[in-house]
């Protein structure tokens, strides 16, 4: 029995990842492109009805020019129509070099800033979309590696009890007893402060792999400990199956349920962890973009009073957190029902 919450959350998450995949196509500009003329520009209003009440199917924006003060803009009556599938700046996608973007303006001197622009005149909407690529994929990769490590160590510790079991468990205890963010910061400290986008990506994946694998190791070990006393496992052992075969064929498949629930818990945690790290200034650094360093730009009273649109990443992060939590909650319920049903 799957509820509406399950369908909505899974649909939402899939949609998020699809948008993340095609982000360069949807984003009208690249995350680095600066329009220095148009810094701190408020979100552009998109209209269908003009000031005389005439309706047009094609959305348009009003032309704007800079005001007297820095960062102030006024619009005039001239319409600039939004074009779809326009030729924009080239970008790379899945190894292809493309120029077609979902929407944009024909005029190259004017820009459309759906969510406003930042201090350097970069389009916030594009930056949020491209930042999603970083923020959302970190969680998936880290959970993959953490599960891999967790299953290997957990199976080892659970199946071959002894001093290695005790050592592995003590190490897990240690990692679990440290306050999470301090552990992350401690691991972060040994890497150089300035890293390129790619290096910081793998660094963050590595850090969260270490952090996450301890819990997964524990859970898998517990499962293996109970499963290895089952009669069918004993039968397989008596029939002369090698430990590898017993583990892979007869024990590990039955830990999958718990692993999936754990992944549902960890993915949002890793995503938020990356956002937190970048927010604190020790994760992804400018000009590379993640939701965390976008948030950091909005973290000042100046930004809140003069350009509150810089806080718009909050909405995207809230949505992501909500969807993942909903899915996690439902998974737990389903897992329990499944367990009872067995």
């Amino acid at each position: 029995m799957k509820s509406w919450a399950w369908h909505i959350s899974i649909l939402g998450i899939v949609l998020l990842y699809v948008i993340m995949l095609v982000a360069p196509f949807i984003a009208p500009y690249s995350h680095k492109q600066q329009f220095r003329e148009h810094f701190y520009m408020p979100p552009t209003e998109v209209h269908f009805v003009d000031h005389e009440g005439a309706f047009s199917w094609r959305p348009f924006i009003y032309d704007y020019e800079r005001g007297q003060q820095a960062g102030s803009y006024r619009t005039n009556r001239q319409k600039l129509f939004v074009r779809f599938l326009v030729r924009g700046e080239p970008y790379r996608w899945l190894g292809l070099s493309l120029r077609t973007r979902l929407f944009g303006l024909n005029e190259t001197s004017k820009q459309i800033f759906l969510l406003g622009s930042d201090a350097l005149g970069r389009d916030l909407f594009s930056r949020i979309l491209l930042g999603a690529q970083f923020s959302l994929s970190v969680g998936i990769l880290a959970i993959f590696f953490a599960s891999l490590l967790g299953v290997i160590f957990g199976a080892w510790a659970g199946y071959w009890a002894g001093w290695s079991d005790r050592l592995i468990m003590r190490c897990c205890d240690l990692l679990l007893s440290l306050p999470g963010l301090f552990l992350v910061l401690g691991l972060r400290a040994v890497f150089p402060l300035q890293l390129s986008g790619r290096d910081s990506f793998w660094m963050i994946v590595l850090i969260f792999t270490v952090v996450g694998s301890s819990t997964i190791t524990r859970i898998i070990r517990g499962q293996v400990l109970t499963l290895k006393t089952r009669q069918y496992v004993l039968a397989a052992q008596a029939a002369g199956a090698s430990p590898w075969r017993v583990l892979i064929r007869h024990i590990l498949p039955f830990t999958a349920n718990y692993l999936v629930v754990q992944c549902a818990v960890f993915i949002p945690m890793f995503i938020m962890g990356e956002i937190t790290l970048s927010f604190l200034g020790v994760g992804v650094q400018e000009p590379d973009v993640s939701w965390g360093n976008l948030l950091a730009a909005g973290n000042s009273i100046q930004a809140m009073s003069d350009s509150p649109w810089l806080l718009s990443p909050v909405l995207f992060i809230l949505l992501t957190a909500f969807l993942f939590n909903l899915a996690g909650d439902e998974l737990r319920v389903i897992g329990k029902q499944r367990a009872r049903w067995w």
Binding site: L178, L181, V190, M304
Partner: protein, 305 residues
């Protein structure tokens, strides 16, 4: 009780040893050492840097360096902050006080929020107050600290009721502590609610109700048995509390241990950063030990397990 206490303390020794090994290996993973910066200074000869290395034992084998480091830690020497030009222990002690006041206030707020909410929820089980509390506690629980602290900062800016940044009066303390209390209150409310529901099914509650006690008196009876989890919950959530404090301290510029850690990493004052990690871990380990002892003291059943 004494036996239990001693065995619990002995049990935590391997953990402490592993912790010291972890932090020491992190120290050693940092490229260079304490004196590498001096080598780059043209006014200091390389010979005097070598002499300093010998004096501080940095030319010794790793085992010996580890032993030196541990003995210094046990004497309360956590190293030296090159960015702030003062002993790290002094700095960390000062900032720990900031985090401590934040954490204690947050804990008090959590209890003030969670105890009544859990009580209302149990008394109106399945009714709209219960459902509202369940949903809002889930939202509070799943709200990342980065977002809640930013939103509360925005709230402070919009209303102007609270000062922004700094650490002088209780008003400065209120919003950071509230940010930390929100997810904890959600967690406590949900756990306590389940615990209270369990207790409410016990015969002695039925007896109390049958005797004609008013609901709040019955609740009092129930609470005394449901309070045990509060102690263990506090121990469990302390790590999360400290983690959250890192973000909150940075957003509200509250001078605490977490802000110090991040600032030290940004200033490449890495020995201080790792010392902060060590101190935070020690605090959590000892707090959990204390929580275990408190539980055993409160509930003799645990002692004999």
């Amino acid at each position: 009780m004494l036996r239990f206490t001693l065995s619990r303390i002995v049990e935590s020794i391997p953990l402490l040893v592993l912790l010291s090994l972890l932090v020491f290996s992190l120290f050693k993973l940092i490229p260079g050492d304490y004196l590498s910066e001096m080598e780059m200074d043209p006014t200091i000869s390389s010979q005097s840097v070598e002499n300093l290395r010998q004096e501080y034992g940095l030319d010794q084998p790793l085992i010996k360096q580890y032993w030196l480091w541990v003995t210094q830690i046990l004497r309360g020497n956590l190293g030296y902050s090159f960015a702030q030009r003062r002993p790290a222990s002094e700095l960390i002690l000062e900032r720990s006080m900031g985090t401590l006041s934040l954490a204690v206030t947050a804990l008090v707020m959590t209890l003030v929020l969670a105890l009544p909410l859990a009580a209302i929820s149990t008394l109106r089980l399945g009714d709209w107050p219960d459902r509202t509390i369940l949903w809002s506690s889930l939202i509070g629980l799943s709200l990342p600290t980065v977002l809640s602290s930013l939103l509360l900062l925005y709230f402070a800016y919009l209303t102007g009721w609270f000062p922004i940044g700094g650490a002088d009066t209780w008003k400065h303390l209120f919003l950071p502590a509230l940010t930390l209390a929100i997810p904890m209150a959600g967690f406590f409310t949900r756990t306590l609610r389940l615990e209270l529901i369990d207790v409410f099914e016990k015969p002695y509650i039925l007896a109390a109700t049958a005797k004609g006690l008013p609901p709040y008196r019955v609740l009092w009876h129930a609470f005394r048995n449901a309070l045990n989890p509060v102690i263990s919950l506090t121990g469990v959530s302390l790590g999360g509390l400290l983690s959250g404090a890192v973000v909150v301290e940075k957003v509200f510029s509250w001078p605490g241990l977490g802000a110090l850690t991040v600032d030290s990493i940004l200033a490449r004052d890495l020995y201080v950063a790792l010392a902060c990690v060590l101190v935070s871990a020690l605090v959590v380990i000892f707090a959990n030990l204390l929580a275990d002892l408190l539980l055993a003291w409160n509930d003799p059943k645990i002692r004999y397990e």
